[in-house]
């Protein structure tokens, strides 16, 4: 069955009103209708009817989506275009095969042994790293990827992944909430300090923090490439890991991972694997963003100790904004002693990373990011703070390319800057 059949009714909901033209970051950059949500919906309809080919033009149109969910949030008819695009990519992948890049992503993501530091670095970040490798280098032959440029600034890879640093269960005070920490690849391998900050903050509240060792990548890179079989395998492994200990919450410090557990697992995996649906729903219902949970559990930022005075601005990650988590991080940040929060223009605009969008459309991704960097620097902030390690990497790249010295930090890092875990 064509995977698109599953979203046939969703496709019909789109009335082509054009509201998505005002909100789609890809359309803002490309300025052509196949890049906007309703265009992709129209193409998906024609794909399903079988009257367009799965040729390069279809492929190109479907690749021009950051899966940010902005169009879904603003759609008067609740058309889930992000879901539709992932399913369209799945359909394309089934008929044309995965792209080289996504094949490599899938191989690594679903092989637990391979999902080690080296494999992650080489494959997930590989294309990004190799932007730094000269065109003539033989190393490039191992990564025959069409999208390797040479401008990108890559974050440093951590010496020791976060998951290997701590025991599985860090007991807190009796009677206090038990929290499972879903770490995510970027925090595990790159921004380990975000994981440490989360740990410090929830321990400060007396919570028991559980960090299951068997947890995997959330699978968003796989969804993004239409490799839903890999995602199913990852989802099953993650379900098992997250269910292993009794807990009140599943906490993420990565907006994207949170979006995957909270929204995309039920929408994409739960629907096609009814045997998993109930477990997926249970985990989705328990999934909360770290800042959201800290506020809910009554964290008083002023009690975490005064840090240096710092002027910051806040960037809304799409996968928090579309879950209505915009107020909580700001309130916590403003309450943190020494913090001055200055709003930037367009804090709700996408940073341009968009999962693998950034790999296929690097220049456009940077173009989307440019306005963001300018807005950040206009505030005169020393640091831009956000709730998604993916955004952190993209913001950091954009700022460095402009020669800006503004630092990029996670909300939790600011909140925990005077705590020691």
């Amino acid at each position: 069955m064509d995977p698109l059949k599953r979203v046939e009714n969703e496709l019909k909901k789109c009335v082509k009103c054009g509201a998505c033209r005002a909100h789609c970051p890809a359309f803002t950059a490309f300025q052509r209708e196949p890049a906007v949500a309703r265009g992709k919906v129209a193409l998906a309809q024609h794909l399903l009817e079988g009257d367009i080919e799965l040729d390069d033009a279809t492929y190109a149109a479907m690749s021009k989506c950051l899966l940010c969910g902005s169009c879904v949030e603003k759609c008067p008819n609740d058309v889930p275009t992000d879901e539709i695009v992932m399913v369209a990519r799945e359909s394309l992948a089934q008929k044309r095969g995965l792209t080289t890049f996504h094949k490599a992503v899938g191989q690594v993501l679903k092989n637990r042994r391979l999902m080690s530091f080296g494999a992650f670095a080489a494959t997930i970040l590989g294309p990004l790293f190799f932007r730094k490798v000269p065109q003539t280098s033989g190393l490039r032959l191992r990564f025959p990827l069409p999208f390797v440029g040479n401008k990108r600034h890559i974050p440093q890879i951590a010496r020791k992944p976060f998951l290997t640093r701590h025991p599985e269960v860090i007991a807190g005070e009796p009677g206090k909430p038990r929290i499972v920490f879903f770490v995510g690849c970027m925090t595990n391998f790159v921004y380990t300090e975000v994981g440490e900050a989360a740990l410090a903050l929830f321990r400060h509240l007396g919570c028991t923090v559980i960090i299951p060792k068997e947890q995997q990548c959330c699978g968003l890179p796989g969804m993004s490439g239409g490799d839903l079989e890999t995602v199913r395998q990852l989802a099953e492994q993650n379900l098992a890991a997250l269910e292993k200990y009794e807990a009140d919450y599943v906490m993420t410090a990565c907006a994207t991972c949170g979006g995957a557990l909270h929204k995309f697992y039920p929408a994409l995996i739960g629907k096609r694997h009814p045997e998993l649906a109930e477990r997926i729903r249970a985990i989705a219902d328990k999934t909360v963003d770290a800042a959201q949970l800290l506020q809910q559990l009554g964290l008083h930022p002023e009690e975490t100790g005064a840090g240096d005075a710092v002027r910051i601005t806040y960037h809304d990650p799409c996968h928090l904004r579309t879950r209505a988590i915009t107020r909580q991080p700001r309130e916590l940040l403003k309450g943190s002693p020494g913090v001055e929060l200055v709003e930037m223009e367009g804090s709700d605009k996408c940073c341009g990373l968009g999962g693998t969008f950034n790999v296929y459309h690097y220049e456009t991704s940077l173009q989307i990011n440019e306005g963001k960097s300018i807005a950040i620097d206009k505030t005169g902030a020393e640091a831009v703070v956000t709730g998604c390690p993916g955004c952190m990497m993209q913001l950091s790249d954009g700022l460095k390319q402009r020669g800006s010295r503004t630092r990029v930090m996670h909300t939790l890092e600011i909140l925990a800057r005077s705590l020691r875990s």
Binding site: K13, K16, G18, C20, A22, H46, A57, N77
Partner: protein
């Protein structure tokens, strides 16, 4: 099908990257908000008036149709390439050329998005009032071509009332200017007004000079619930009779309230049969007085509830009721025909009653809301295409609705235009001589019928 020779010539005019012929591109420029679909032979994105002129000259020489398009958010198919030809997209012409704070005018290109323009002039303390519901994505060129309206028109007028001058590429490919930058000007025919609302059939607009107003200091929003449709309608005429012209007087009938309540549970009192969303703007002191006076005036008219917003956030909360109407309609039936009849404002209850009778006669749900202040009602005929015969019945119902509006000295369209959607009904409103007069104008300007052919008039 256009010959490849012609495609090559188009590429020479606008550059290879600005001519698309992939089927994917044709699909994406073949629809608009009517949900009709017609595929063009090519999509062209010109970057200047000169390029547009060259395209239209080529179209005359080679006799192929050209369909101008802005954001493609129209409700009547005005931009759809029925019969094939090229879609000419104006969105690359998207600069605000100047905002003149001394003469209160602005000059823009047609591809500027309506809201972007509004925000730009508001930064300078100026005001461009026309506010079609699509303002976040519609283009000003499209607004002028369709003579777009919106909730604020009751006080400020429609798009046409703000257009002082245009630059237009005529179907022949010649470029002319119409009107100008002066408020007064009586030399020659008023071509500017002829072009406003001409739906892209008489020329391609390439520059627009708009009149601007000073930005009102503040606004005040009220959500009022009435126990009858007559009470709400009487409120409209009483407020205006009381010498207050509100910025907006948005109306929702009982069917609309039921839809919104069912889906969003906003807590509108059960006794409510109609809602008016009233907004006044102007000097802070004045609007406080006006708001108080309005409440006095409407109290005896079966007022069930009156909420007055204290600040912008509360105002937004009240507007939410109105904004949630469209999303909740789908619960009634999946497909809507969104008509926009107008009657003299005192006749609103009469037309609503007639529409209710039509809904019962055909057993089709019809939901009414819209701009009561100027008698412009959005009549949403909700159908399910899966039910055999329902679509045909809907067309009969729509014809009766138009007749009802015309019988009350109204019109069948206040702001959406004719395009393809209302084309068959045109003889209900226009006499053969009126139609012939309009067609004579069309023929004089576009003898070869290359610009947006097959629209507006019965074929």
């Amino acid at each position: 099908m256009l010959e490849s020779r012609i495609i090559d010539q188009l590429k020479k005019i606008v550059g290879d990257d600005n001519v698309a012929t992939d089927r994917q591109d044709l699909i994406c420029y073949g629809y608009d908000a009517t949900q009709m679909e017609f595929l063009p032979d090519a999509v062209v994105h010109p970057g200047s008036p000169a390029e547009i002129a060259a395209i239209l000259k080529l179209a005359n020489a080679e006799r192929f149709p050209v369909f101008p398009r802005g954001a493609g958010s129209g409700f009547t198919g005005g931009a759809l390439p029925k019969g094939g030809g090229i879609v000419l997209v104006t969105t690359r012409l998207n600069r605000i050329l100047r905002i003149d704070t001394e003469n209160l005018i602005a000059e823009v290109e047609p591809g500027v998005v309506t809201e972007q323009f509004q925000l730009a002039v508001e930064k300078l303390g100026l005001f461009y009032p026309p506010d079609p519901a699509s303002l976040k994505f519609s283009t000003l060129g499209g607004n002028v071509a369709e003579n777009a309206g919106g909730p604020r028109c009751v006080k400020y007028g429609v798009t046409r009332d703000f257009v002082m001058g245009l630059e237009v590429v005529l179907p022949s490919g010649e470029i002319i200017r119409t009107g100008g930058e002066t408020y007064k000007g009586v030399v020659g025919y008023d071509l500017t007004r002829l072009l406003c609302g001409s739906e892209g059939t008489l020329g391609v607009i390439t520059k627009i000079i708009f009149k601007l107003l000073p930005l009102p200091e503040a606004k005040k929003t009220m959500l009022t619930v009435f126990d009858s449709i007559d009470g709400a309608a009487k409120a409209v005429s009483t407020i205006i009779g009381g010498k207050i012209i509100p910025t907006t007087l948005e109306f929702m009938d009982y069917a609309t309230l039921q839809c919104v309540e069912k889906r969003f549970n906003l807590g509108i009192p059960a006794a409510g049969r109609a809602v008016l969303l009233i907004e006044v703007d102007g000097d802070r002191e004045l609007i406080e007085k006006q708001a108080a006076r309005i409440q006095e005036l409407i109290k005896p008219l079966g007022l069930v509830e009156c909420k007055v917003a204290k600040d912008a956030a509360e105002s937004e909360a009240l507007w939410k009721v109105r904004r949630l109407v469209s999303p909740s309609l789908r619960d009634v039936n999946p497909t809507k025909y969104n008509e926009d009849i107008v009657v003299p404002r005192s006749k609103v209850p009469d037309v609503i009653r007639k529409i209710d009778a039509i809904a019962q006669k055909y057993a089709i749900p019809i939901v009414n809301f819209g701009h009561a202040g100027d008698g412009n009602i959005h009549v949403n005929v909700m159908i399910d295409k899966e039910i055999p015969g329902m679509e045909e019945k809907a067309h009969e119902a729509i014809a009766e609705i138009f007749k009802a509006a015309l019988d009350l000295n109204g019109t069948m369209s206040g702001e959406h235009g004719v395009g393809l959607a209302k084309q068959p009904y045109i003889p209900l409103e226009l006499s053969p001589v009126q139609i012939a007069t309009m067609q004579a104008v069309k023929k004089a300007l576009d003898p070869n019928g290359i610009l947006n052919p097959g629209k507006m008039f019965p074929t």
